[in-house]
Symmetry: C2
Subunit: 499 residues, 2 copies
């Protein structure tokens, strides 16, 4: 029986993570016995994961040394650089390399010892169907004992959490949730600052010495029109890396999952901290009181959202347009790499193609979608600006995807559900604002007639969840069997699979 | 390869429901091709379900006729009955039976025709492991096309929804949710009536002619102390059958699922309509305003809940104690069956052992648990009454389970998650009331120190959901493979399975 490729896209592997040893003494024995007995018809083999951090650090050190030696030789050819380094005699490198070789040998010896095994293994199956079976079925009576996950692509693996048990991962997840809440609350500081800047008289009252400067028309225009967006945008730049870090300690075993989780966090953070925090400008406690009083939300939104229309139009121009344009020229990465090269000389041929950072750009595009949907009937003036933004974004991101970024992993369309849910949220929010607006203008009939609209939107969402969501969570038996037939190159493959 | 028993507890069957035909012209062909190709290693056979309502009605008619003829013969021996019937000549029965025989033959001929097939089939697999695989794995690219469900026990099957498509089931579910909401709102009428009765002056004001009667001490005691509970209890009796009916049109394919779903509905209906509606006595709109203002809930609960302590103590005595005692003597079923027998004479040997009605009794017991947990620190006087109730209930239900009821289906412990969730809800409610009480008494430190308590309860619930919930949803591979080994009676069965 032919085996599917080990690291194929619909993989024949899954990763099993076990929290304690059962049968034999080693992880390898336990995995082999468990899968050999419970999935005997499809189980093929397994590879236990070893902890090689020591070995890896030694290898990294050797690589760095090699780079230094290589660079030294090149330096002799082109002597001009911004910063030159002290010379070290070549005999020194030789002795260091010998030491490293010794270290690597010792590390390899240590790794092959059974004590270094991590309680996780890559398990291979005879067919994709078999792997999917092992993936979907609960393994043991205690569901925290054996965890199976689909094996990620080889360069997509995130190693640190292979040794984490169910409890550790669960605790990490809860801690991350609390950290996100804390970050959301702390972020209100720059938002409140932004709101303070749009209110010049209050600023003059607090800092009387500024009166002279603030009375200049240009300064006041910059401060009220441009500075708030700038501060907001600068502080927002910090959020995606923080969210990515939080997602990375959450227990995911591949980078694509981390990016997905970070993207989700950044979307809700942006919606809450940019949209709601700006709309309900005021103290944090006032914002809390708004959530805790859901009956009043539509009316409060109807009062607060239209008031911020001019701010958000400015936001589309300052943040949206400039962001897409800086994305085109990649100003920040260019400057960073220029400065880095001056300080740390490296091989010029060693150019790494940057990966797309979905968790930074997807929430931004979705946020402008939210602005467009919620403001189109309150302040239609926002529409041309947003239209221009989307046109720009389409052209520029299309170019970036084709010519600049190299995909680090296949997303498999996994970001689509997030986009769907954000759209549904935007629609329901818009409908809630419309209800609030009609209630505010004492149009009772219109208010009551609008109430079924969000209910219908939510029902539509529920239908989509039932009809389309399963496609995103697992491959169906039909697809798996078709792929298995193709792998076997069997001429008896049923005809209908060729459609 | 030996096959597991067709209707065993962990079944080798699953039911597939398909919404449209794909390959061949008949359902049987489609099922055979799909499972034969996509689950070729484990698929054994299938039985397509036929619509036999016409045949069944004819068979039922024949059975009834048989009963009548039999009863007629017995009647001749014992001529005394409350109500006698007109005699019919015996020749009449003969001609009717001949007609029926003809009908049954025609019905069978119709059923074997392929046009009468329903788009559902019982699919059998070579092993339990194979059946579980087909159950867990999504089948086709369109997830609404093939639905697989575990096959219920034979006498547990609920036939009407085998022909329903995914969309029909989904719409039925949404309609049932709206029906439940409507019922909850309509049920506020008797509750408001109950609340009116506890307020005698208002009653006297509304119906002045009652003043004379109400001034008698015995009458007023009965009206304020006993009548409210009686009205509430009588109207509550109607709820379980209604909820069972609603669950039965929701698309479930077995009676045990219907009972589970009805039990869930009755639990939340009881908690909302007896506990909350009584506590927040007043108009329906006032109650709505309470949910829509979650910040104020703890404080409002802290005011309203202690005020109803005496009502709930009376409720435990009148409803709890009397209910368990009537359960012991089964007064209502006894009277119903006595009256029924007088009107419709039947064979005395034909005694059907009644099944346990979980959806009627489980919510009641859980509700007294809720009362005990929420009132133990507000009105400790309720505790001895509840303790006595639980002792009585333990003894009586133990007896009923052992000597009176015959299990209609194996619940498989599936009611446990409901009990767990209700307990967690009771705990969080109690903690919310405690927080509200401390806030009301201006003990700020105690209030803030108590806030982490419900958070911890919810975290505990989340842990239990992760750790124990999977056991209730599916059998793990370990158990399935062990059962498969046992079925095969293979001497090579691994030793560790004998533990």
């Amino acid at each position: 029986m032919a085996m599917g490729s080990l690291w194929s896209y619909i993989s024949c592997d899954c990763i099993c993570l076990l929290s304690s040893l059962l049968y034999g003494s080693s992880v390898s024995d336990t995995v082999d016995r468990f899968f050999g007995e419970n999935h005997f018809s499809t189980y093929l083999s397994h590879v236990v994961i070893h902890r090689t951090s020591k070995l890896r650090s030694v290898v990294d050190k050797a690589k760095k040394l090699y780079k230094q030696v290589k660079h030294k030789k090149q330096d002799k050819k082109k002597p001009m650089r911004f910063f030159s380094r002290k010379d070290t005699p070549e005999g020194h490198y030789e002795s260091v390399l010998q030491e490293l070789e010794q270290d690597i040998r010792m590390g390899q010896a240590e790794v092959s010892a059974p004590g270094k095994e991590v309680r996780a293994a890559f398990v291979s199956f005879k067919s994709r169907y078999g792997a999917a079976t092992a993936l979907h079925m609960p393994q043991s009576i205690n569901p925290t004992y054996w965890l199976t996950e689909p094996a990620p692509e080889p360069h997509d693996v995130h190693w640190p959490f292979f040794s984490a048990s169910f409890m550790q991962k669960w605790l990490a997840k809860i801690l991350v949730v609390f950290a996100c809440l804390l970050l959301t609350i702390l972020f209100l500081v720059p938002v409140v600052l932004v709101q303070g800047l749009t209110n010049l008289p209050a600023l003059e009252f607090m800092f009387p010495f500024l009166t002279l400067i603030l009375s200049m028309k240009v300064v006041s225009q910059i401060i009220t029109g441009y500075l708030p967006s700038l501060i907001l945008q600068t502080s927002l730049k910090v959020v995606p890396p923080i969210m990515e870090f939080l997602s990375s300690i959450q227990g995911h075993i591949c980078h694509s999952d981390i990016q997905k989780s970070a993207c989700n966090k950044v979307i809700w953070f942006t919606i809450w901290n940019v949209f709601f925090a700006t709309v309900f400008s005021g103290s944090a406690f006032y914002k809390l009181s708004v959530i805790l009083d859901p009956k009043e939300i539509p009316v409060k939104l109807a009062v607060a959202v239209p008031a911020q229309a001019s701010f958000f139009i400015a936001y589309v121009v300052t943040t949206g347009w400039t962001d897409t344009l800086t994305e085109l020229f990649r100003v920040v990465p260019f400057m960073v790499s220029y400065i880095k090269r001056s300080f740390e000389p490296s091989d010029d041929n060693e150019f790494v193609v940057p990966p797309m950072r979905y968790h930074r750009d997807t929430p931004r595009v979705l946020f402008f979608g939210l602005l467009g949907i919620t403001y189109f009937f309150l302040a239609p003036l926002i529409l041309p600006f947003i239209l221009l933004y989307f046109c720009l974004a389409y052209i520029i991101y299309r170019n970036q995807f084709m010519n600049v970024y190299a995909p680090k992993f296949d997303t498999g369309g996994m970001f689509w559900p997030m986009i769907h849910y954000t759209m549904i949220f935007s629609l329901v929010l818009m409908q809630a604002i419309a209800i609030g607006l009609f209630a505010l203008k004492k149009m009772e009939l219109a208010t009551y007639l609008l109430v079924p609209l969000p209910v219908c939107t939510l029902l539509f969402n529920e239908f989509c969840r039932k009809r389309f969501m399963p496609i995103f969570t697992a491959y169906p038996a039909e697809v798996l069997t078709k792929r298995d037939w193709e792998d076997r190159n069997d001429p008896r493959m049923p005809e209908f699979y060729n459609n």
